[in-house]
Assembly symmetry: C2
Homo-oligomer: 293 residues x 2
């Protein structure tokens, strides 16, 4: 294996150990699948920096020849005695074959997202913080999933739960597309791959967390509240549903409160990530977690 | 050409006129380009319905064999004496070759977006409404452009302006991807393809419209205001910038006000469409245009 200072010049000199790593990176980045040990791939200097700073276990870092120029920015994390992962080098050509993006920056990492239990999720690490959870139920678009996590983190959410809704699960928040859209928030915000929605509602209820179902419709016996009519300072979990279908009616019915963003007449609905942004903004304003500096 | 009731069974019987139409649809849908007469393509029953109801000039409507089952939903627009456009039929196989989506619904239309002047834009059609404009400056992602238009329409924006920022223009709001993300709002909300940002700022200023630059940074001499510190009831134009770079510093400096959404500490920025949603929600709440029914 070449030393960090001397990038590999040709694929012909690749060792079998190096080849194994390249395969792992390819599965994680281009394939979008976790490696056998459960690591996911991140690509680009910004996301790699986020991964290195997240406190998650790093499995390996990979530079291409041109990617080496980003080493300086990552040096605070890499140039240390005690790092427990290999820093690998490859050619630009091989990196392009591994990457998921069209014009890769030549930096990538394999990172193992932290695992959380339901108890971790309902007891926020920040002492005194009341849980503010986002439940993603049956979301199909990795861009929406990532954007919602990014927004949730920006507005002080304490954790996220992904859950299946009806026939459809929620797409992984750790796929390359979702990770990019999250701008790394998926590695910082605690995320729990949740059980089915019905079980989850029961669990949240027994933890005294109020469930708010983001709704597309009004119901005669349970009218939807506007965002500003909710007390966001108490422990709450906001449930958002599938892009086209919303939440299943029975879930909206079992949740503590229906919530609906008022809109100009004639408009049917908002994009789910835009709706989540509006609701979390309202929560953050009430909770006073916003910093203007 | 087959009658509306009898879909074409084979590509071998296609007339040259029909063939010309199929080519137009292919350019607009798969190619994502306007036709020679300036029409854009929309696909799917929902978007076609939006197009037919938008008041825009329709050039043609196309059904595939299986797409014919959506005819009933569109009948109020199609089954009329006075319609001035052809309703065409093709095979499923040919439709798939024309469509931009993987599993097309078999319904599409060519629609000519309305054209607006700067004067139209600054004098909203709804009498008494104070202009609430969104200026998209250098946005590259059609999903973001469409989502922002959808959100703007939902929160009572009166018009949108697309503008170039630095080296980069804003991607067309009428590409198939942007139209889909806008859920048809791009055909309802007046949109002006704007001049350069510097000229636009001068035009808005001489029309007494306050320019708000959505900012990623604070500036010592011009601190950014929080969304709730703005008076959204006066005539305002909100400027949002490129996904990675934001607005150019000189534009933020020349705008009347910098505006920044406060965030939890440690988070750098929001997705541009999420930020726009939050700001327009604030505007809509102040303007009281929201309907809860």
């Amino acid at each position: 294996m070449p030393s960090p200072g001397k990038p590999a010049r040709s694929s012909a000199v690749i060792s079998s150990r190096e080849n194994r790593w390249l395969k792992e990176f390819r599965v994680a980045l281009r394939g979008g699948l976790p490696t056998e040990s459960g690591a996911v791939g991140v690509e680009g200097v910004r996301l790699t920096e986020e991964a290195l700073g997240s406190g998650c276990r790093i499995e390996a870092v990979l530079f291409s020849e041109t990617g080496r120029r980003h080493h300086a920015r990552l040096a605070p994390y890499l140039d240390r005695e005690e790092i427990a992962f290999p820093i690998l080098n490859t050619t630009d050509r091989l990196f392009e074959g591994i990457a998921d993006t069209e014009h890769p920056q030549g930096v990538a990492a394999l990172v193992e997202p932290k695992k959380f239990s339901f108890d971790d999720i309902v007891r926020p690490a920040i002492s005194g913080a009341s849980p503010l959870l986002i439940v993603l139920a049956g979301l199909q678009d990795p861009g929406n999933v990532g954007t919602i996590l990014r927004t949730a983190a920006a507005f002080g959410a304490t954790a996220a739960i992904t859950s299946a809704s009806g026939q459809s699960g929620t797409t992984s928040p750790f796929s390359p597309k979702a990770l990019r859209a999250s701008a790394g928030a998926a590695l910082h915000l605690p995320i729990l791959p949740g059980p089915s929605l019905a079980i989850l509602l029961a669990q949240l209820s027994s933890s005294n967390i109020r469930t708010l179902a983001s709704s597309l419709r009004d119901s005669a016996d349970q009218p939807a509240l506007a965002p500003w009519e909710i007390n966001w300072c108490e422990p709450v979990a906001l449930l958002v549903g599938n892009e086209g279908l919303g939440l299943p009616e029975e879930i909206e019915r079992s949740a503590d409160t229906r919530i609906r963003i008022p809109m100009a007449t004639g408009v049917e609905s908002l994009n789910v990530a835009a709706a989540a942004a509006v609701l979390f903004y309202e929560a953050a304003r009430q909770r006073n977690v916003l910093s203007t500096t």
